[in-house]
């Protein structure tokens, strides 16, 4: 296996195939730790991980926190309400203050794309992107890859469909990066107003016909649709969205027998995904959650090993 030399995880765009596979392999070994009676190993004893969340999040933050704790790292939670953030202190100021206290890693989520990069360029601390605006959510894509590999044994050659608000989805972008690097064929599907311009240049196909998509794909990734999209006029109504793009049993009638239905959560049941399907035989939504923990343990373990190194390329 290759040697890991990344100090921060900013996006899947910067990872190559071998590095992605290394995270997946490491996660596979680490998954067992959570099944033990004593769910804790001393690997990251004495390390401090700060969870700096400028956007609210329950599952991602909990997942990172548990991952850190299972590896014996200390964690600190800082939830910053963006609107309440005083104008005087920038995100970089906040992070610099944390670094002054010698923390080893900052896991950051922010509503603006590129904030993890801004921190990584200016700090020596390891930075993990836990979601930046509409750009990337690398650990989500890694856990999705892991789940598919676990269930289907491979990524290469699979047909993957991503349905929903592609324009605003960091999950979609990270997954497109990950899947295409590992040799899957990705098709994105959603309302034309929520399809980002030039998305084809990332190597994906675009369709507006969800039934056609369902028929051919091995994996169907359903994205969360935000209620605000109606207010922002991207959609005539959420009701019409559900009718056209919502995944239900009826639409899945033409699906392959062993199709996997995935969702990054939290689901709007009855909107993008019917309850039947979310809890049904094809759904691997809870596996995704379980695997998220293993993936984040792997990321923490790998990144915190390359201690004291300056960020690559700086």
């Amino acid at each position: 296996m290759i040697e890991w030399n990344k100090h921060s995880l900013l996006d899947l765009r910067e990872l190559n195939k071998e590095e992605i596979e290394m995270v997946l392999e490491t996660a596979k070994s680490l998954k067992e730790v959570s099944l033990r009676e004593v769910k804790k190993v001393p690997a990251l004893r004495g390390k401090t991980v700060v969870l700096l969340f400028f956007e609210s999040s329950t599952r991602t933050r909990t997942s990172f926190e548990l991952a850190a704790k299972r590896l014996s790292a200390d964690t600190i939670n800082i939830a910053v309400n963006n609107s309440a953030m005083s104008k005087g202190e920038s995100v970089l100021d906040t992070a610099r203050n944390l670094e002054a206290m010698n923390v080893d890693m900052i896991v950051v989520r922010h509503a603006c794309a590129g904030v993890p990069n801004l921190l990584a360029q200016n700090l020596k601390t390891s930075i993990v992107n836990a979601g930046d605006g509409c750009r990337e959510h690398p650990t989500q894509a890694l856990l999705d890859l892991f789940t598919i590999k676990e269930k289907l044994g491979r990524i290469e050659g699979l047909k993957v469909g991503i349905v929903g608000d592609i324009l605003h989805s960091r999950v979609a972008r990270s997954n497109i990066m990950g899947f295409t690097k590992l040799g899957a064929e990705v098709t994105v599907c959603g309302p034309s107003t929520l399809m980002p311009p030039g998305i084809e240049s990332t190597g994906v196909k675009v369709t507006y016909n969800v039934l056609e998509l369902i028929e051919q794909c091995d994996v169907l990734m359903v994205l969360r649709i935000q209620q605000e999209r109606q207010r922002d006029k991207y959609l005539p109504s959420i009701r019409e969205y559900a009718r056209m793009f919502g995944i239900n049993k009826e639409k899945l009638r033409h699906a392959k027998k062993d199709i996997l239905i995935m969702h990054p959560g939290p689901t709007n049941r009855g909107v993008e995904l019917s309850a039947e399907v979310a809890d049904g035989e094809y759904s691997v939504i809870l596996d995704q959650v379980a695997n998220g923990l293993a993936i984040r343990m792997a990321v923490l373990y790998l990144l915190l090993g390359t201690h004291g190194k300056a960020p690559a390329g700086e």
Partner: protein
């Protein structure tokens, strides 16, 4: 006071002197130009006059920047008339026109006068305020255009945003025609540009940044061209950034519509890919576009579809620029890098000639704004002169900027061609360290 520029190869928009010339300046005007060989011996032995030896240099009419932000009044932490004047002089500009989006907005004669007084006190370059088209740049009612003109404005603009309301723009153009003052439009439909922070397209999709589609610029370009045609008046379009805009302007000009346009150096040197590093110093409005657009802007500067080069010098503090990409303010400084970029990217690759450089940076802006004593080196004209070393290479360094702000994405770049001396109204207002003379 008199000044003598020796051995000058004079570059005018229409002519380059074949043999070295000597330029004699008195009381702020060019009094006499003679072939250097004809200069009386008594003078060349050194007399009472100050002299600059321009041997091996190009001597051009002082550059005129129709589009700068000097931030005073309101944001003196970013730039002042004094620091901006110094940056202009260092960049070879003898005249700068400062945009009215200050606090308070330049929308009445008092503020115009205050700026002119301060520029006078600083006494480096000509500073000509641009007044607002609408009071407070609020897009609601016209500003008092006659008052602004009398106070010293030659042009009006709501720069930073378009006059969105088409009826209001129509009235502004009609009224400005009567007041004989130029209108400069910032072309951007705010409903289309939304919260966009970069050009909408493949790269914005990849970077997850909100896109401002090019069409937000072109719809206003097209509208203003149509208004100018309908009202039989003229309009100047600021910082054109798109191939489509260039095509619209080219068409308008072919129809005889009186439209003029400018382009900023960053729009013919950088593409949207500069945002890949999330460097907020690359964040500008209108945004950096694609390679195709950059090529079209260069072509337009070559064929004259775009009349002039203006920097859109927009200083911002490091604190403000250190924000995330969404929240960092738009703009980059440009006065001190413009000449280097124009020579490196346009003249050196032979896209435009030296004479065309003078046309785009001095003669055209003088003509567009009615500065009839500027834009040319000839006897009787104002003695605004820039001396260029066409070969000298230099690195853009943060610490070398005299502007109060340092927000330049060009830091670290090596540029060819540099300003040796700047003379404004017969006075040397800038001379590069190590240049002999005086």
């Amino acid at each position: 006071m008199s000044l003598w520029i020796k051995n000058a190869i004079i570059v005018n928009a229409d002519k380059i002197s074949r043999k070295p010339q000597d330029i004699f300046i008195e009381a702020g005007f060019i009094k006499k130009i003679t072939a250097s060989s004809d200069t009386p011996q008594t003078l060349s032995k050194g007399g009472a006059v100050n002299s600059i030896d321009a041997q091996g240099k190009l001597v051009m009419p002082g550059f005129i920047d129709m589009h700068v932000h000097l931030r005073q009044p309101g944001r003196e932490d970013k730039e002042t008339i004094e620091t901006g004047s110094r940056a202009a002089a260092k960049g070879g500009f003898t005249t700068v026109m400062c945009m009215p989006n200050t606090n308070p907005v330049i929308d009445n004669g008092m503020i115009v006068k205050a700026i002119l007084d301060e520029a006078q006190r600083v006494g480096l370059v000509n500073v000509i305020p641009i007044g607002a088209i609408t009071r407070g740049q609020k897009n609601e009612e016209l500003s008092d255009m006659f008052e602004l003109k009398e106070a010293g404005c030659r042009a009006l603009s709501d720069d930073g945003k378009s006059v969105v309301n088409s009826q209001l723009m129509r009235l502004a153009m009609e009224y400005a025609r009567m007041a004989e003052v130029l209108l400069i439009e910032h072309c951007q439909d705010p409903n289309l540009s939304g919260c966009g922070v970069m050009n909408e397209g493949r790269t914005s999709t990849l970077l997850g940044l909100k896109g401002d589609p090019g069409v937000s610029e072109t719809v206003i370009v097209a509208r203003d061209i149509e208004l100018a045609h309908y009202l039989n008046t003229r309009i100047h379009l600021a910082h054109i950034s798109l191939k489509r805009s260039v095509e619209l302007i080219r068409f308008a000009k072919s129809q005889g519509i009186r439209v003029t346009a400018e382009a900023a150096p960053h729009h013919f040197t950088l593409t949207e890919e500069a945002h890949e590093s999330f460097d907020t110093n690359t964040k500008v409005n209108p945004p950096l576009r694609t390679k195709e657009d950059v090529e079209a802007i260069k072509e337009a500067l070559k064929d004259g579809t775009i009349d002039c080069i203006a920097t859109d010098h927009a200083p911002h503090t490091e604190e403000d620029k250190e924000a995330d990409f969404d929240h960092a303010p738009f703009g980059m400084i440009g006065l001190e890098t413009a000449v280097g970029l124009v020579i490196t990217e346009l003249v050196d690759p032979k896209i435009i000639s030296w004479a065309q450089m003078v046309e785009r940076m001095s003669a055209a802006p003088a003509r567009i704004t009615g500065l009839c004593h500027k834009g040319e080196i000839s006897e009787g004209k104002e003695a605004d002169i820039t001396v260029i070393d066409p070969h000298r290479e230099w690195e853009v360094r943060r610490q070398d900027f005299v502007s109060k702000s340092k927000n330049s994405p060009f830091i670290g770049r090596t540029l060819k061609g540099c300003v040796e001396a700047t003379i404004c109204q017969g006075r040397v207002v800038y001379q590069r360290e190590g240049v002999p003379g005086l």
